[in-house]
């Protein structure tokens, strides 16, 4: 496991995209903090970066990386290695290198300008989202052998979680506004890792004006430590469930 992981990480670093991604995050974070009048406003702007750009780049980069590693995978499957080890190494390599990029690119500026609980929750959520979307990418890449289709799936999944899901939630709320939907909304938000992260960060920030509707409802239920624990548990599930399905598919894949 460790050996393969080493080769995967070396390969990802050689590929330079992760380094560009780190620099991009650093530039955006620093400029946001120095442009806004207060660090709190800077945090609000960073929120969108963490909730939209980070998942997008993670899912697309990981999907492309899996397709480009086809030769590597084919070579190693015929070697004395467990398929599970190989797949988990790919996951580990992607997750760790993208997480490090995020920690440097967003973690460091937040630590400098806004080192409190809110900052911690923002960085932690971003970190979870990074790993969740690597996991989703591995699952998406297993769906088809065609690279273009696979990347299409990845983008569609991102669109779904970033935009379409909230649209559906709003639609349902307006359609069923005569009914008490609070409990249903709590359940719904667990179906979207981006929403889960958004709720956590916004609960910390205390700026309800920026909240999506899901968030507003969520606050009634989880204004406390319980809320944080339960929603992070939800994010952990979001890492393991797609990973489990992709692992199961890879175990049976013909190469």
């Amino acid at each position: 496991m460790k050996k393969i992981l080493k080769y995967v990480i070396a390969d990802i670093i050689q590929n330079k995209i992760v380094i560009i991604y780190t620099l991009l995050l650093l530039t955006i974070s620093f400029s946001v903090f120095s442009l806004e009048s207060s660090a709190a406003k800077g945090m609000a702007s960073l929120l969108n970066l963490v909730l939209l750009i980070v998942p997008l780049i993670c899912i697309i980069f990981s999907t492309i990386y899996i397709y480009n590693s086809a030769e590597f995978i084919e070579l190693l499957v015929s070697q004395p290695l467990k398929r599970k080890t190989l797949w988990l190494s790919l996951f580990g390599g992607l997750a760790s290198s993208l997480s490090i990029a995020f920690l440097i690119g967003v973690g460091v500026p937040v630590l400098i300008y806004h080192a409190d609980l809110t900052g911690l929750v923002l960085v932690l959520s971003g970190l979870f989202l990074t790993i969740v979307f690597v996991s989703i990418a591995l699952w998406a890449a297993g769906m088809t052998r065609d690279k273009a289709k696979g990347i299409g799936w990845a983008i569609a999944l991102w669109l779904f979680f970033a935009l379409i899901f909230d649209a559906i939630v709003l639609f349902l709320l307006f359609q069923f506004q005569d009914y008490p939907l609070e409990n249903a909304m709590v359940v719904m938000s667990f179906l979207n890792p981006i929403d889960l992260s958004r709720i956590q960060i916004l609960l910390q920030m205390d700026i309800s004006a920026l909240m999506g509707y899901t968030g507003a409802v969520f606050q009634e239920f989880f204004g406390s430590l319980n809320g944080i624990v339960i929603s992070f548990a939800g994010l952990i599930l979001w890492i393991f469930i797609p990973l489990f399905f992709s692992l199961r598919r890879f175990a049976k894949k013909d190469l």
């Binding site: 030769e71 084919e74 070579l75 499957v77 015929s78 070697q79 004395p80 013909d254 190469l255």
Partner: protein, 247 residues
């Protein structure tokens, strides 16, 4: 040593392997023959665990392979078209393969690396290599860890005459050490002094499995290519005659 029991595999609607059963023993050198697309490569890949069969089981030295992946330590595989990570150099690739095998007490067999002259281009990236050179790398890797079983899929396709002679000499050397060698090729003339047993496949089935002496005796031919041609002809008449009688 390797036993296949009722292996079947479908790709979509196409049946590639149709309930194949056989045994391969140590010291044999088996030629796997058959037209394009008859399932040779798929069969090899199922033995290696690269293709997962729909049904049936593969037993390697008494252990079922789908439960234990370690058997692959004893197999050297040379693919028909070797695909390697493009950005790796030859030396990186070799280093990685050594790393995977863990067992440092075994001194790797680098004879082919030297005789193919790969050590002179060891820092070239895999992307920049020609098809033939890539084949040389595949061959060198297959023999590197003294495997008990060698599986060679079209080993000489794409190699120049000198390289393919060197490879053939190496195969003979390994065969004399009592290893099981499984080889597919369309160039029958080059199998003549290698092979001990012929397996002929068609449409995912074994048409026949025979030791080469029996084959030559039955057909009265000395050359393998002629013997195969003869047997195919007689098969055809065997299959068609009863139909004529019925008509």
């Amino acid at each position: 040593m390797i036993e296949l029991k009722n292996i079947s595999k479908k790709f979509g609607k196409l049946t590639v392997l149709n309930s194949v059963s056989t045994r391969f023993e140590e010291g044999e050198c088996i030629a796997l023959l058959g037209p394009n697309g008859c399932g040779k490569t798929t069969m090899i890949k199922t033995i290696l665990g690269m293709v997962v069969p729909d049904s049936g089981s593969i037993i390697f030295e008494g252990r079922e392979v789908n439960k234990d992946w370690r058997y692959r330590e004893d197999i050297g595989y040379m693919p028909q078209i070797g695909r390697y990570p493009e950005n790796m150099t030859i030396s990186h690739l070799i280093q990685m393969m050594k790393d995977i095998r863990k067992d440092e007490s075994v001194i790797p067999d680098e004879e082919l690396i030297r005789s193919f002259g790969l050590n002179e281009i060891i820092h070239k990236k895999m992307r920049t290599l020609s098809g033939g050179t890539t084949q040389k790398v595949s061959a060198a890797l297959a023999f590197m860890f003294h495997p008990k079983v060698l599986i060679l899929d079209e080993p000489t396709a794409g190699l120049d005459p000198i390289a393919s002679l060197k490879l053939k000499e190496k195969i003979i050397k390994e065969k004399e050490k009592g290893k099981l060698i499984l080889i597919t090729s369309h160039i029958l003339s080059e199998l003549d002094d290698l092979v001990t047993k012929i397996v002929y496949m068609n449409d995912g089935r074994f048409l026949f499995e025979k030791p080469i002496e029996d084959l030559k005796e039955e057909t009265g031919e000395e050359k393998l290519s002629r013997a195969i041609a003869r047997i195919m002809q007689s098969r055809l008449t065997q299959f068609t005659q009863p139909q004529i009688q019925l008509a």
